[in-house]
Symmetry: C2
Subunit: 286 residues, 2 copies
Amino acid sequence: VVVPANGHISIAQRCAPFLNEKQIVVLNPGRTCGALEFLNILRKEGNKKDVTIAEAQTFIYASRGMGPAAARIFRIKQAIPVAAIPSRKTEMVVKKLNVAFPEFIPAASVIETSFNNMGAVFHPSITILNLSRIESTMGNFQFYIEGVTQSVAKILEAVDKERVMVARKLKCANVYSAIEWLSMAYNVVEDNLFDAIHSNPGYVGIMAPRTINVRYITEDVPMSLVPISEFGKIFGLKTRVIDSLIDIANSIFKKDFRESGRNLSRLGLEGLDLSQIRNILIKGKK
Amino acid sequence: VVVPANGHISIAQRCAPFLNEKQIVVLNPGRTCGALEFLNILRKEGNKKDVTIAEAQTFIYASRGMGPAAARIFRIKQAIPVAAIPSRKTEMVVKKLNVAFPEFIPAASVIETSFNNMGAVFHPSITILNLSRIESTMGNFQFYIEGVTQSVAKILEAVDKERVMVARKLKCANVYSAIEWLSMAYNVVEDNLFDAIHSNPGYVGIMAPRTINVRYITEDVPMSLVPISEFGKIFGLKTRVIDSLIDIANSIFKKDFRESGRNLSRLGLEGLDLSQIRNILIKGKK
């Protein structure tokens, strides 16, 4: 399933009557808690079969839509972690995927794929803090290289810290800071995010979106920031900067992304404690 | 007293030993709750005399510092509301001011001068939502005309709504929305803030600050947004967008503007109810 994460619900609803035990659904990518949400929708729609749902940590291609029914692949990413719910099925899923796509590798669980979702850190912050610039230039500047100034980088670091804090509390097996991730994914070794982003040749030439009505907000706020904030809430962790970005996005779009996004109720996690939540994410049941 | 509002505390501390019954201090301007904070500092420093403290709603000049010990006045504003604590002294203060400055007019109370502080609405929002642009162009764009795009205007409207909501709850005698204020101050009549700002010739040519370390944040976050948010808290009103801007500013400056700003404790309002608060602001005592 290759759609922005805010499309997962409708895909799940449409597939629910037809999916059976032998089938595997891979969300490529799932953003944060995509596999769990997909599974919840199947159950709500009355499908109680043991369908295998998996999610990739990021999309396998660095690519852009170039027009109706046309996309351009700039690069195939290496080593994309994938995990299934329950995680004992991950190896089987990856083996099947590897027949066509050798780039997929197994992750410890969907906690890892969901919380190492770097779009959550980069996309909404950079977009919101470049609001007027995107609108007045129609995105005519380099999103990462020009859009991330010293202060924007400070906000990215704050969002990243909140994400890592929540992931740690969930006992995420491998949680990478954005700086660590940049060094793994792009071989950039710097001691702060501003320098790391600015010395990454992979970011050169990536332009800003032409409008702020873009998946960097409409996908990454409800499907990435909202679940991180919601998990923070369960554990009594304050995610002030993430919450601020959600509130500002709500205000711009006159929507409630907390309501439409992956909140605790949609994820079926209300009232549960840490070990119950980990069991659901890792084993598929409380 | 003509200093950014974050300088009021230190001025009050230095003046405290010397001020007496016959003297009048006018904060020009006070931002939100300047007179109340000044009075609290005098009391804390042991000055129990009946000094008259007043605040102007905005600075009397449209002006900019042009260098060390040099300022340029572009325009003298007309009809600047002023109020004293207690408000029965306002008329006396305005009469004295009018000898030199006929532009000052009496306001109902400091509730009016504090909550019609439009800097709170315009300054931090536009600055934060133009963060990368200010830093990468060193402020080389028109702050209002280019910096306020459609989405930025939506955030301004949200902040303004929250300010008006808190002021109404405080039973502010005359509370103006930003749109009403623009029509009074600049004769601009439009039905939305975007159009009102863009059709205001008074905003043409006003450039953005050259850095984000500027009073639009360092003064207006702690001395305008923080007190509005704090009053909201007393009344159980949610000021989500204002709070978001405070949190983002905190994160950029690695400070706690709620702590250093005009919070309930600094204003001496902790644990009080609406009528006690109104009495303090209007009569100078509970």
